[in-house]
Symmetry: C2
Subunit: 376 residues, 2 copies
């Protein structure tokens, strides 16, 4: 029986509460499987690690993450650590770099059609939206040379700079990854590559390498790609988001903005999962990854047991799919979540947390998902 | 009697058609004024200038723009010039730099409440949205050092970079301009500054200088400022855009993305104006500016006389307000446009162009605006 080691980073704020419901799902799957077991172990990361170890990514946490088959995270940060020299998000950026988590994957779709009315978009605009944002995560403006302004020296002009850097290898590997994701649909999903090639040198590189990689390695398997400018994409995402259905492929900074923009379409941030991968999910080889809900640590509701665990449970589903090669089990978890989101309790109330207008707690939702999975 | 010289750059595609309706408005105002006259003169710019002079910003066009009190532009570009070494947008970037048009101003509001149903957002989300995006326009990633990738040399790793650069002066002057705009409301509009200070050195500079400038020069006049991250702002703009009501202040690249994102809220790109200013609109001194609708050259409908001229007419209103110091006349033009958008013709049809579901042409809309203005 194979053992998968999954590192759990509950993090700060509501992180531990939502992670708890997702680990219940993974534990159930582990206990029912005849071919593998999942070994879960928690480590400090983020604000709580600053408190306990003086830095957001302690050495033992990093070592465990490097060894692991996959990492499940809650969320990090909070006002307590917001302003200091040592901040939780530095741990996140360091983890991305250390593990070479070069591909951030953010699905934008309604986990259930019944949620359509929660979107800020008109139903006829939001209906049927289904795309995955693939964001390059370890290059670009985030990791290029930078210089802080010296504002305390009156003789300085206070100049600062950041550098956006890409090379051919960076663009090629993220294009390959996006193409493998596209191949998981039948027919393959179209790629929509987003850049600013009318201004930026890195975008001209991006556009050409994306096109060349698709032409030389994936066109024969039915993959197509179109290119648009980031300003235009940010409009289309609101005015006609179905146009982006398929895979939206873009660089780090643009991906940060566009994936967050997309995340409000399904109506509640608490619903959405994400994955950050280091390998290539082509079915061969190991693909370590960090899985986390897209929402923040929400300190205002932390400890109350009312946070929506769906985004974290769906992150665990992505973990099963990409790092553990258990696509069918991932489908089952997603189906169970959908069933719970559509269910009513005995009083006719929806089985939902407060962010979706319901009255249930994190654990109630977790209980239901586990119960549905038990019965499958 | 004072004479204002306004350079007109009709440009490509639908540019000349929409500009024609706006110049009629300016000519009417000129002929009715007892204190000033407006002298309009057209020059080649953009694709048509590439055809006639081999470059998008010919020398005589640039010289005239530098001398002018203001510039009214249609739109530039089109598939004909999209791919060449010499492209229309290079003319636009050169003009911004040569005239030091450091502040791009993009109002996001419904020119008439009757347009609410055209928004992709639900009416209850879109209702009452009213902010102005102030985008820094001559620094940042657009004008820093860059290096193109060398993809044809197999021994090269194909690295490319772009540099995002800001100094204290740049941030201070755009903050001042935003503050003057805020002071035009009573009470002053709040400033919402957008950056990525958790990652970028230029954003940390930005945040501090924005705050310092407001604290030292504008807080006493009632201006307040808050700071948010660009990823978060791109969400709020869709999920709860009224939260941004006031002035949205940001750097060049973020402003490109966010201003376009905002522009789909009012339901039709053809409605919206923009200004790019070089001076400080504090009521003293000259403030040259380039005024243009935010829409593109729309080659597919060019020459048909059906393009919406409202964005260009409202750009002419901004021109009156900021470069000619004629705020009251600007108000009148805006009121006339609102009246026309709300009017029905004898058959009960709305007096609108096709993009707003109407059946009228550019000239019909121009005729009506002119007629309303005649009667004021
Ligand atoms: C916390 C921050 C550095 C991070 C980013 O910008 O990448 C976050 O916004 C994200 O998208 O995961
Ligand atoms: C044409 C292009 C260079 C330009 C920009 O990115 O600034 C345009 O998108 C705009 O916003 O005016």
């Amino acid at each position: 029986k194979q053992t998968y080691n999954v590192v759990v980073l509950p993090g700060d704020g509501i992180g531990p509460e939502v992670v708890e419901q997702a680990t219940r799902v993974l534990e159930l799957i582990s206990s029912k499987s005849t071919t593998f077991s999942i070994n879960l172990k928690s480590y400090d990361f983020g604000g709580c690690a600053i408190d306990s170890a003086g830095k957001p990514l302690p050495d033992d946490t990093l070592a465990a993450c490097k060894e692991a088959d996959a990492i499940l995270m809650g969320s990090v940060g909070g006002p307590k650590w917001g302003v200091g020299k040592v901040r939780p998000e530095q741990g996140l950026l360091a983890l991305r770099k250390e593990l070479d988590l070069y591909a951030n994957i953010r699905p934008c779709l309604f986990p259930s059609e019944s949620l359509l009315s929660h979107s800020p978009l008109k139903p006829e605009v939001a209906k049927g939206v289904s795309f995955i944002v693939v964001r390059e995560l370890v290059k670009g403006l985030y990791f290029g040379d930078r210089q802080e302004a010296n504002l305390d020296d009156p003789s300085s002009d206070g100049a600062a700079y950041d550098t956006m850097v890409y090379n051919k290898f960076d663009v090629e590997r993220i294009t390959k990854l996006a193409s493998y994701l596209a191949l998981q649909s039948n027919p393959p999903a179209p790629l929509h590559s987003i850049d600013k090639a009318n201004v930026l040198a890195t975008s001209r590189l991006w556009r050409r390498v994306v096109q060349d990689t698709v032409d030389s390695q994936f066109a024969s398997r039915g993959i197509t790609v179109d290119h648009s400018l980031v300003d235009s994409a940010s409009m289309v995402m609101v005015s006609n988001p179905r146009k982006l259905n398929g895979i939206v492929l873009t660089e780090n900074m643009f991906g940060d903005i566009l994936s967050d923009e997309s995340s409000v379409i399904p109506g509640a941030l608490g619903l959405l999962p994400s994955a950050s991968l280091s390998g290539l999910p082509d079915g061969k080889g190991k693909c370590n990854g960090l899985y986390e809900p897209i929402h923040g640590s929400a300190p205002d509701i932390a400890g109350k047991g009312i946070a929506n665990p769906v985004g974290t449970i769906l992150s665990a589903a992505m973990l099963l799919r990409y790092s553990l090669n258990q696509g069918e089990l991932a489908d089952k978890v997603e189906a169970a979540v959908r069933k719970v989101l559509d269910a009513k309790d005995i009083g006719g109330l929806e089985l939902r947390t407060a962010d979706l207008g319901g009255k249930h707690g994190s654990k109630d939702v977790g209980d239901q998902v586990v119960a549905v999975l038990e019965s499958l």
